[in-house]
Assembly symmetry: C2
Homo-oligomer: 114 residues x 2
DNA sequence: AGTATATTTCGGTATATACCGAAATGAAAG
DNA sequence: CTTTCATTTCGGTATATACCGAAATATACT
């Protein structure tokens, strides 16, 4: 059941944080790592789960891989999900902090520091 | 994060099947067990997960406990979820079969046969 | 009170997955 | 061609959870 894959993908705090960050703009693995404070491999694995579920897309750009929300797939559903999260942003400081951090994130400073 | 609880609750095949069945009507544990072919304790645990997430409600009726969808909570979100599932009913024979079985289910015949 | 039935809770097991560091891969630059 | 750096894949571990049967709980009936 495809829906299962989607819900499983969304049923992890770090992956939801990634979805919210990607709402702002396209991001590379390192930028996300710098916010979540997880290892690169773990972030990469989370991104693979979201991608398998069809929730995000990737695009190569030199040595970087940029990830972005997949706006075409299940549009209404994804919107509903993001709205639901929006309702909880107030309750969940992590989501607010992530948004602030990612605004300032500069991949040229962040990367090379694994 | 509350949304996590909701997604976790929905990220299991049997719990999604329960949600679709409850779309038809209120059901007791035994009726659901008869369709899913799991033990009563497992079904009860699944229902507890859905209830904790605020997705369903329960109501005592004599020795039975009737479960139903919680229409009030996160209305748009739940609608989006059920629509998403509806799109997959065609692909997923289990959901069709469940719907047929639950239409015929009679708790007076089903129960007492644990 | 005692029996029957529906449900929940508990203890135990087996599988899934989140995480890490190390190794492998792929692209760009020297 | 070699080095550098971002990312992915792999092996291993620790925690979460889906499942069951048995015991406990709750309600109805005799």
């Amino acid at each position: 059941m495809d829906a299962i894959t989607i819900f499983k993908a969304l049923s992890d705090t770090n992956r939801l944080r990634i979805m919210k960050m990607l709402e702002q703009r396209e991001l590379c693995v390192c930028e996300i790592r710098s916010v979540l404070e997880l290892s690169n491999s773990t972030v990469s694995e989370h991104l693979a789960v979201l991608k398998d579920a069809g929730l995000i897309l990737d695009r190569k750009d030199g040595k970087w891989v940029n990830y972005r929300l997949n706006d075409r797939c299940c549009v209404n559903f994804i919107k509903a999900v993001l709205e639901l999260l929006e309702e909880h942003v107030g309750d969940e400081p992590a989501l607010k902090n992530d948004a602030a951090k990612i605004k300032k994130a500069n991949r040229y400073k962040i990367c090379c520091t694994i």
